[in-house]
């Protein structure tokens, strides 16, 4: 794969990302500036009755709220480009630092759920697609279909009730035992707290990849090259593994990477149910409590995250499929 062509691809993607981020920034700033929620009220919160109009003016001035929206946008965008995402009003910390810390917590959750649902979904999809209309296929399809209509947070609540409350096998909330700090908890305790949220995300995530893989498997099993393989005397099992799986694998992997956006969304809900202090829960807090800088920062960050996933999917699709490689100019 010629270096120059790949670098050109990366460059094109980077430009696309910047343009996209610009649009997202513009759109989100516009939306946020239209919110009837007064940021000062939200910031001050309970102490709202105690502050005087003069104090309000000081805050407004500091945040530049008295300037017209366009000027505020360019001010904010300018700082953004330099890496300054502002200060979170809830945590009183730089937004980037809040996002960074919370993202790492979420990262392990998402990674666990993503890997598990990817592998399991693929296997279930193969089993279902290899023998269309068999009992196994029907059961798997029923499961995937049902899961697609099930709210993530409800699954979380059910799991919480069964495993944490009734059976007392897993903790009720948080990423580490309450009272302890992140540094104090060991790996196994962390894992223990990760289990249910990850399981919640996985149970739902499996559905999409299972159905997609199943579809590709069925497509493969009905293709002309499978007919020929049968004519050559290949057994069904041989056909499934030699041909169908190979041809279904690439689309499945591509989908997994393209579904990072969905994963993030699911994490928001799962973290809310389990009070897991990740980026998802932080987003909700920022929204409810009107922490504009943090909310905007998270929007930008999530856009980068989704773009990253889509680009990886694109790379896999373009450079691993031999047919595409030829079109990409090898």
């Amino acid at each position: 794969m010629p270096q120059s062509l790949f670098l050109k691809f990366l460059l094109q993607k980077s430009i696309k990302l910047l343009v996209l981020l610009g649009a997202v920034a513009l759109l989100s700033f516009f939306l946020v500036s239209r919110s009837p929620i007064d940021p000062i009220d939200a910031y001050v919160g309970a102490a709202i009755l105690k502050i005087s109009p003069e104090q309000r003016e000081v805050i407004a001035d500091r945040w530049g709220l008295d300037k017209p929206p366009a000027e505020r946008f360019f001010c904010w965008a300018g700082r953004l480009v330099r890496g300054d995402f502002g200060i979170s009003t809830i945590y009183n910390e730089p937004v980037l630092s809040v996002i960074g810390k919370r993202f790492i917590t979420s990262f392990w959750l998402m990674l666990l759920a993503w890997s598990f649902s990817g592998v399991l979904g693929f296997l279930l999809g193969i089993a279902a697609g290899a023998q269309e209309e068999s009992l196994l296929d029907r059961v798997i399809r029923l499961y995937a279909f049902t899961m697609a209509s099930t709210p993530t947070f409800w699954v979380g609540m059910v799991l919480l009730t069964i495993f944490s409350i009734e059976l007392d096998w897993t903790p009720i909330c948080c990423a580490w035992p309450p009272g302890m700090s992140a540094e104090e908890t060991c790996f196994w305790q962390r894992l223990h707290h990760l289990l249910l949220p990850a399981l919640t995300l996985s149970l739902i995530g499996v559905a999409q990849i299972t159905l997609h893989t199943r579809g590709k498997m069925i497509e493969a099993m009905n293709s002309e090259y499978v007919i020929f393989a049968r004519a050559q005397g290949d057994s069904t099992l041989g056909i499934v593994f030699r041909h169908a799986v190979r041809n279904a694998a690439l689309p499945a992997i591509t989908l997994q990477f393209a579904s990072l956006g969905e994963l993030f969304g699911g994490a928001v809900l799962a973290e809310q149910v389990f009070s897991y202090p990740g980026l998802g829960k932080t987003t909700v807090e920022a929204g409810i409590r009107g922490d504009v800088p943090l909310l905007l920062g998270i929007v930008i960050f999530s856009a980068i995250f989704v773009f990253f996933g889509n680009t990886l999917a694109d790379i896999i699709y373009k450079y691993i499929d031999p047919r595409m490689r030829r079109m990409a100019g090898t």
Partner: protein, 280 residues
């Protein structure tokens, strides 16, 4: 005789018809039930607090002694209405944008495509939160958020469909034979587009309803006047640790069944109407 009748019509097509009718019957039941019985969910009875499901109260009672079955029915109706109205609005936006992109020239097409790219650049739930925040929350915020974020997929489908139609041989032939663009649009394109649109709309309902429920669960649509399922579930979180599992399980199950019914309805109609599969 009934058995004979059923055996004759056991093929896939008639089974699908039966499925469609059953789904519609289910929705009718929900709306009727909520209309007839829903208000009972407002009656508090402190002597019947926190009761698990029984014959008198199939879904149990909550911490204020309110009948959960009635509350669930009312909540379901509210959630469905929010989801349906938001989805319909979204579908109309998708239709307009899709048609515009495919028929008003390259500039408009590029603009719409780019707009779609921006709309799907962030995770869907994040965008929903952002828009709900921008609208100040409340049920209104939830509806606007869902309506404003579900159009991308359907827009793409409609755009692709119209583009394909425009370039297809029989349309060109029709134009060459002297038919005006409006006639062609009405007689040729509409029969192709309408099924796609209706099915797309139906399949949008599950997503809209679920997303609306998610938003209200997270707290963005909170209002005691609109106890949608999401609100019911959010409130029940507090009582889960006390073992009042029915407060969450029952409303959730009814939501799942309703959403599934829409999914099944949409997919069944698609099988019936898609020329490729209607002969199976």
């Amino acid at each position: 005789m009934f058995v004979q009748l059923y055996r004759i019509h056991l093929n896939r097509r008639s089974r699908t018809l039966v499925t469609v009718i059953s789904c519609l019957a289910l929705f009718a039941a929900v709306f009727l039930g909520a209309w007839l019985y829903g208000e009972n969910g407002e009656i508090t009875n402190l002597q019947l607090r926190k009761l698990p499901p029984s014959w008198e109260q199939p879904f149990g009672t909550d911490w204020l002694g309110r009948d959960m079955f009635a509350r669930t029915l009312k909540g379901l109706r509210i959630s469905l209405m929010i989801g349906l109205s938001a989805a319909t609005a979204s579908a109309i936006i998708a239709l307009i944008l899709g048609l515009a992109a495919a028929t008003l020239g390259k500039a408009v097409d590029t603009a719409v495509t780019w707009l779609i790219d921006v709309a799907i650049a962030t995770p869907h739930l994040i965008l929903l939160i952002l828009i709900a925040f921008a609208c100040g929350g409340g049920a209104k915020g939830v509806i606007i958020a869902v309506a404003a974020s579900h159009w991308p997929v359907l827009t793409r489908i409609i755009r692709a469909e119209v583009l394909q139609l425009r370039s297809s041989a029989f349309i060109h032939l029709s134009a060459k034979l002297g038919r005006g663009p409006l006639w062609i649009a009405w007689h040729h394109m509409l029969p192709h587009l309408l099924p796609q649109f209706v099915i797309g709309l139906l399949l949008m309902f599950p997503h809209a309803i679920l997303h609306a429920a998610a938003l209200t669960f997270l707290g963005f649509g909170m209002s005691p006047h609109t106890p949608a399922i999401g609100v019911l579930l959010a409130e029940s979180m507090r009582y889960l640790s006390m073992g009042l599992w029915w407060l969450a399980v029952a409303p959730g199950l009814t939501l799942i069944i309703s959403v599934q019914a829409f999914d099944i309805l949409g997919n069944s109609l698609r099988v019936l109407l898609d020329p490729k599969t209607c002969r199976e």
